[in-house]
Structure formats: C-alpha cells, structure tokens
Subunit: 473 residues, 2 copies
C-alpha cells in the first residue's frame, strides 16, 4: 500500500487509487471490463439485498430474460436503436458457425422483455404485470472508469405494463421514491429529483424521471431513472389487451433502474477522505472491526474478550470482524481498516481489560470514546445509526454548497468548469438553448419543480422551468 493522492487537489487520481488499494475492484483483461473483488461485491450485495426486498414488497416479481437479443428487435423502436447503436457488442459467430442474424448483447432489456409481454398479455386480467431482473448488461465504453463507466456492468431493471396511463405514471413515481429512499437513507447521499429534457431522456421513453447527486468535484452523477414508456414500445412490439369494456388496447409500459454498480462510485466519491473509504454503516459489510491489542501473557484473555463482544454484537445483527492477525501491528491494522472505510473500530488490550473498558473510534470523525466493556455491544447499534445520519447531513451540506444559482450561461458557464459547481437556472425549453451548454461540457441534469428564474439561461425568452445544469460523470 502506498500513500493516496491528495483528495482535495487531485480528486480523480485519489478515486483511481483508493478503489484498487481498498481492494474493491481490479481491471479485467479486456479493456473497459472490471473485476469486482470480494470486498466490493459484499457492499454491492448489501445494496442489492435492500432494494430487492423493497422491489418485492412493492408488488414486483423477479424473472430472468436472455442476454442475447436479435439485432432486428432493437430496430423496432426507432429512437431506441438510434440511442444504443454506438454502444452495442455483437455476437456474429457461435457453435463454430457464422450466425444468420447477429445477436446483440443486451444494453438494456426493453425489446426482449416486450416481445415476451406481447405473448403473455391478452386481457386486462393479465395486468398489471410487474417484473424485475438482476442482470449484467453491456455498453461499449470509449472512456471506461471502474464502477462509473464500464463495458459490462451489473444492475436491476424493472419492466411493468398497466391498463391506464395514470397507473403507469403512479408506478414510475413510486419506484422513483424507492430509489430516493435507497440512495438517501442507505448510501447517505442527498439527491435532486426531476424530469429529464427531451434530449437527455431514455431512448424510446415519453418521460424520464431521474435522481441526480452532485459529487465533491461538482459533477453530477445520475443515480437512477424511472421511465414512463407509455405506448411507444407497446405499439412497436404489438402488445395488446382486451380491456374491461372488451376494447382492444395497447397497455402503458414503464421501465426503471435504481441501482447499478455505478452507484458504487457515488458513495466512494461522496464520503471518502484522505485516509480512504468511508462506508455508510447500512451498506458496510463490516460495520465494526475489533482490534485486539496483544501483549504476551494476555493473548488468550484479550481474544476471549474480543470474541465475547463479537458474539454480543452479532445478537444485535451488527456485522463484525475480529482482526486477530498476530503478525501485524495494531498501527498497520488501523491504517488498513481506515483505508477500507469500516465505520467503527473497537480496540481492546490488557489495560482495557483491567479497567473493564474498550476504545471505540468512528471512521467519520476519528472521535475516540472509552466505553464500558459490558454494555458497548448494546450501544453500538444506535451509534451506527447516528453515524449514518451524520454522513448524510455532511454530504447534504456539501451538496448545497456545490449548487449555485445563475441567470445567464455566459456568466456562470465558465464557472461550471473552473469552480466545479452545478447551477440552478431558468430555461425556455428550446433544444437550441440546451445545446449551448455543450460549450462548457455541461448538460441539463433535470427539470426542477420550481420556477424561480424569469428568463432562459441563453435567450431572451421567458423561462418555462428551472433546471439543474452541471458537468456529469
């Protein structure tokens, strides 16, 4: 392990270093692919478990659809193929022969899932149909970066069909709220929600809702999206049903995704510091690491005390590990577990045993507390909850300081780049004005609910809506 690059002056290098040093990820042999190592995957499993539970509790069922999509399927919805064509990986040979029709590796699964919907949906009794799958998808990346942009990544994708547009819209908003809950209350990252502009929305959707987080470097990261597809895909894939009045209709479709391995990048960047990762307690695979301080003659008694606390913590459903490696010094262990971002460190040595105490240090503020050895396990669950909240509040403060307000792009445009800030401003809703943002490498991240600004950021026309504008990952 080597010293991490300075997080304040060299954020990008810090990110690239910390993910490898903390053993979250490694590069795959094929450019743009990644190996998610056990420590990284264990965090992803925590995120998955929480979201999977909520997806089921909100009335969805998991299923599994094929990796391979006939190339012709993607062409059925015109704007869909236009959006995805440049990113596709294509299988042309299999079983020792050239294939008659090339197969696309799914970049997303609307087309293949809708082809099955067409088979399964016949009557209003078949609706709503609410499915989800956890899957790998492939989008060829020109500028790959572990977690943030990789050729293959992991996600879930929900796909639903409804009798009415109102019901479909309610589904889209319900899932958006679930994603906000996951990101804010589990990843401890504040988000801004809103609708995407026509240019930025999902290829083939009527309306795309998004949740956007602002990273410490002022760039936005899209944290999840929920799409009202309406009837576009239903028409393209000839999905029809007989409604309650016996009329034949197209159902209203939605699709959504609130967790991809991209989210891993978001908490790393939001919470990390000069010592390494800081993992929100709710998604930490190890919430407490116990470091026994060894001294000859006291090894067994210290180990026993550590084991006792560990057992007590497990009874409270706290995820705990004892680092009992006697070949390493306590100092090198502190360094290692700080790098790995474990929320709480509990030290216990011969002197502590004598005084019936332990030393508890939190990763977020490095505050040390001396606590009673017999009651520390009972206190830790609420200490973890408190830490979780503190992390969110800290991130929220920074997000607020990272978003400014600006009237005219000509004024604030240069600052987006130089001062690393996101801006709220007004927009006339014309595509021409939106294109002007490219000059500053920025985009409209989402339309906001508010209408504070009077004029468009670019032209003289009245603003139709406030928007959030930023560079993005």
């Amino acid at each position: 392990m080597t010293k991490l690059p300075n997080i304040n002056t060299n954020f990008s290098d810090w990110y690239n270093d910390v993910i490898y040093q903390a053993e979250l990820v490694d590069n795959g042999p094929v450019r743009g692919t990644m190996v998610i190592r056990p420590y990284g995957w264990a965090i992803w499993e925590q995120i998955q478990a929480r979201l999977d539970k909520r997806i089921k509790e909100t009335g969805h069922q998991n299923a599994a659809f094929p990796l391979f999509i006939p190339e012709s399927f993607l062409k059925k919805e015109a704007s869909h193929i236009e959006g995805f064509a440049p990113e596709l990986a294509v299988v042309t040979h299999a079983g020792g022969k050239q294939l008659e029709e090339p197969l696309v590796i799914r970049p997303t699964s609307e087309t293949i899932i809708h082809s099955m919907f067409a088979k399964w949906i016949n009557s209003w009794r078949d609706l709503p149909l609410k499915l989800n799958q956890w899957a790998n998808v492939v989008r060829w990346e020109m500028r790959p970066r572990p977690f943030l942009r990789t050729t293959e990544f992991y996600w879930h994708e929900g796909h639903t069909a409804h009798e009415t547009e109102e019901e479909a819209h309610a589904e889209v908003l319900m899932m958006l709220n679930e994603f906000v809950d996951l990101v804010q209350n589990y990843l401890a990252i504040p988000v801004q929600t809103g609708i995407k502009s026509e240019n930025e929305r999902f290829a083939g959707a009527d309306k795309t809702y998004t949740l956007e987080a602002i990273m410490p470097d002022g760039k936005a990261l899209q944290m999840g999206t929920s799409h009202l597809l309406s009837q576009n895909f239903a028409k393209a894939f000839d999905i029809k049903f007989q409604d309650r009045e016996e009329n034949v209709k197209h159902p209203f479709l939605t699709s959504w995704c609130g967790a991809t391995t991209r989210l891993m990048g978001s908490w790393i960047m939001t919470h990390g510091d000069e010592k390494g990762l800081v993992i929100p307690p709710k998604i930490a695979p190890i919430q407490v690491v116990i470091i026994p301080i060894y001294k000859e003659g006291f090894i067994d008694s210290v180990n026993q005390a550590a084991e006792k606390i560990s057992e007590d913590l497990k009874k409270h459903n706290v995820r705990v590990e004892i680092d009992s490696d006697q070949s390493k010094s306590p100092g090198s262990k502190f360094f290692k577990w700080e790098l790995k971002g474990v929320p709480l460190r509990l030290e216990i040595g011969p002197k502590d045993l004598e005084k019936k105490q332990v030393v508890l240090t939190d990763r977020l503020t490095s505050t040390k507390q001396i606590l009673d050895i017999d009651t520390v396990a009972d206190l830790i669950p609420s200490i973890l909850d408190e830490l979780q909240k503190e992390m969110f509040e800290k991130a929220k403060k920074r997000m607020i300081s990272n978003i400014s307000e600006g009237e005219k792009l000509s004024d604030f445009g240069p600052k987006i780049d130089k001062e690393s800030k996101a801006y709220k401003t007004g927009w006339c809703k014309s595509s021409e004005c939106e294109k002007e943002l490219k000059k500053y490498k920025a985009t409209i991240r989402c339309l906001l609910d508010s209408k504070k600004f009077k004029e468009c950021f670019n032209c003289d026309k009245p603003s139709q809506t406030d928007v959030l504008v930023a560079k993005s990952y």
Copy 2:
C-alpha cells in the same frame, strides 16, 4: 391450460408441457435461450439462497468476473480449449468496430479468474484464496431443452487456490458434500457420488468428482461437479507464490459448481406426477396455498379466518399465499395449484368455520386431514418437514429400482436403452472398453467406491473399479 401428456407413457412430452403450463419458463426469441418466469425464478432463488449461505459459511467470498474472455486465454490450457471450442459464442464487433481480438463469452471462468489469481497471489500469506461467483454462462447447444440444455444458463462457480494438494483435495471433497446436502436435503433427490473417467472429466482437470441422479426415465443427470485442477491451470497462467520456506511454487487449484439452472429440470422430473409439479417444501416459494370457499353472507368471515391463519403461518416462517380470486371456482383453483406443485392446500369455508376446522391436503399423496382451526398453523411446519422426507424416500426407492447390476455390456447394453435403466458393472479402466458404451448411447457416469465385479464389462481383463453406466441428459 390443457391436459398434460401421460407421464408414464410419454415422459418427455410431459416435461415439455408441464414447464410451460406451470409458468416456470418460456422460450426466448433466440433459439436455445430461455426466459425464466417469476414462479420458476422464485424456486431458483430458494436454491440459490441456501447454497450461497453455505458457500459463505464454509469460508468463501463472492466476487464478479467479466463476461468477456480474450480468445487467446482459452487457448492457454490445451485440453480446456479442445473441450469448449465447439460451444463458444464469439463477439467480433463492438462499439461500431471490428475488434482486434475476438472475445469469447464465458462458457466457464477458469481462464479469466486464473489470470487474476496470477496478479493477486504472491506469497503463502495470500492463500488459501477461496472465491465464488453467481453468473450467467453461454455454451452453444445443438439440441436445446429448457433448463436441461440451454445456450445461456445461470450457475455459481467456485474457484480456489491452496498451498498444498492435500488442502485442495479437502476443499474439493468439502464442496462435493455441500452439493450432496443441497440436492438430497433440499431438492429431495438421492444421488450417487464418484469420480469421472478421464474421458468425462472437466477439460483441464486432474480429477472431477460428480454427483449423479437417476431420473424416472432411467437417464442420469449430472447434478454438480467438484474439480481438482491441481497445477495445470496454475502453470498455464503462471500463478506462483513464495511458500513458507521461501521456495517459489505453483498453487493447487480447484473449481466447482453445485447448482445450475439445470437443477430445475431435476426436481421437476424426479417429483412430478400426472397432475403436474410437486415441489419439495424446502424450495417451494409457496409452501401453503389457502383457498377460501366463498358463499354469500360468509365472504368476510371466511377471508378473515384465512388471513388469521396466514399471519400465524408467517410467524412460523412458512411461505403462504391466499388465493382470494372470487371470479374462479374452488375446483379450478385446486387444479391450478396442483399443477404448480404447492406442497399443502388449506381449504376453509363457512361450514369449517362453524366446526372450527380446516381441510388440509398434501400435494404428494392427496391425503386430506381435518384439523383444528386454532392449532393448524403450529402443526404445519412439521407436516412440511415430514413431506420433505417422504419425497426423498419415494425418490430413493425409485432410484434403487432404476439401477440394476450387469456383468457384460453385450447382455445389459440393450436394456439400458429399452428398459430405461442404469447399471452398475465392472471396468478395466481402458478407454477402448469405455468407448463400447457409445453403441448403447451410454457413458460411464462415475467410478464407484466399491469393487464388486470381477471382470470388465467389455473385455476379459479384471475389473479395476465398479462404475455406474447410463444414458444421460
């Protein structure tokens, strides 16, 4: 829904029908691919959850390795590429361009994982390294069949590295035992374990242990394998470590898999009957279906009673569903849930309410029991356990009756085909004699621990080991 083909006279058609009618699976648009529908996937999730827990409890960690493997990697271990070449799917174009090196979609991940092991393993302190991943893999199938043989399927694969061959061998056997536990105690299917012959073992392995089940039609189904790879792959991928005496050595590797979506085919075939699926309680997503018998004036009271029992069952961690659709008759519901193989059906109607009773029917034997309404929920967990055991015992009896003993292939060979039986016999261990089995479409499924037979099934030489011989899926 239509009548199922006769399971006794037309087993293959029965299988092909029941999987679709019970909504476990559907065909994907690309030949050989399958869509696993929610009911099928929920069963797979039960199997996954159990095995994942045991994989972790036995000291392994999950990770995720890329889908894409450079073609050159597969060629590094000579027998490995020879074994897999005919089944590969190849990506030749991506991101709008032809690739410099074609990418193989993983048929299994030894090569890519070992390329990472070479990077991560340097000292004996890095060992043992014990990883697992849940993944989709692709093997091009000429004669696909849902679950049993599909172009894309889902599995887990374990990959470990050890300092010594003994330790690697112990790992291989430990995981074999875990797989036996899963199959026998969760899927309720008896298995025969043993070593594969050189011809049948994994491409690149020193030794392949297998667990084989015999289906009702007398064909064997491989249920899992555990491979001692020894140093073949370690040499091919240049994995080296400094041992405790500071010598540079190759580690001893293993790989294993105890659950693929192929296992879904095994319990369907083993337990199914003329009415449809029979799901072992431990892997049933719905263990008890409650069917309220509606009559005007009693709808609310019947629903309340059903709800009360459902709540009580949930407290006992029983997976329960109430079928409260008032547009369907009880008879059509019985038919549906029998087809879907739910282990227990609980009926409750106005007359039952009056008598404070319910009617409980098990799917395996169709035995009806009248039970007290207030205590039925307490009794059900042990009734489910009992059913699980009965299913195993029933399957075991049939497996025994499906395996015969035979001295000479010329005698029993024709019976393998016509009478649908597996045979135990003796073998001299020569590849020439093994090849004779092809005449009867049979293979050596595994070498047995016993040595009962004196002569080889084919030649006059003494038998070296008993073997299990059968046709296979």
